[in-house]
């Protein structure tokens, strides 16, 4: 069964460093998303991506964040200068019809 994959599973970085989180969506899906979940809190929407451009973003997704689909399979989330409060699980999701399928997540720890 096709699934969304994410790498790395855990990333530790120092405050102020740049990180890139990688996702491989399900191959025939056209809509891609990033969400995050701070420990003990709700899953929160960050950004949606369709037709090679951002289609919607939340207030969380400020200038420190960017997304890219560098080739036909990968979908990346970049945080330019990480802050302590960026520590969270980051989930990638994709869909073709209405149901979004999530990856296993990347745990980002900023020290």
């Amino acid at each position: 069964e096709p699934e969304v994959t994410q790498t790395p599973s855990h990333q530790v970085t120092q405050m102020g460093q740049e990180v890139i989180l990688r996702c491989v969506p399900i191959s025939n899906h056209l809509y891609f998303y990033w969400y995050r979940q701070i420990l003990g809190q709700k899953v929160e929407f960050l950004v949606s991506f369709y037709n090679n451009e951002i289609s919607e973003k939340s207030e969380i997704f400020d200038d420190q964040f960017s997304v890219e689909r560098p080739d036909g399979s990968n979908f990346t989330l970049k945080i330019r200068s990480t802050k302590l409060e960026d520590s969270a699980m980051y989930f990638c999701a994709s869909r073709s019809t209405n149901e979004q399928y999530f990856g296993p997540g990347t745990r980002l720890t900023v020290t």
């Binding site: 969304v4 709700k42 929407f45 289609s55 209405n98 999530f102 296993p104």
Partner: protein
């Protein structure tokens, strides 16, 4: 403001003891309501989508129902392997929306043998 509220926050059941989880929502326009299962340290796993009041979906011991203001996830004769956090999410039908989900905090279900 669109909101999703789940109750209870945590639920402990004995194996075989049926119960229901609640998800109440306040949105200007509902495109769909989704139920996910989340195991510790994992991503949400899709269970059901409901689109209109009166709709019901079933999968094994789980049954999801939808009214105009809330959804229920009924668990019949649960087993320990049903232990997980169950997340409810809504998708709005605003013109510019690309289908992003608004999640509730979840209900953490523990089923003891």
């Amino acid at each position: 403001e669109d909101q999703v509220t789940q109750s209870p926050e945590a639920l402990r059941l004995q194996e075989g003891e049926s119960s229901s989880l609640n998800c109440s929502y306040t949105v200007s326009g509902l495109r769909g309501l989704f139920w996910y299962r989340q195991d510790p340290g994992k991503g949400p796993e899709f269970l059901f989508t409901l689109y209109s009041a009166g709709e019901e979906k079933e999968k094994e011991r789980l049954k999801a129902t939808l009214t105009k203001k809330e959804s229920f996830l009924h668990i019949t004769a649960p087993k320990p392997e049903d232990s997980a956090t169950y997340l409810c999410a809504v998708q709005t039908n605003y013109g510019g929306s690309q289908g992003n989900l608004i999640f509730g905090k979840g209900t953490k279900l523990s089923v003891k043998p």
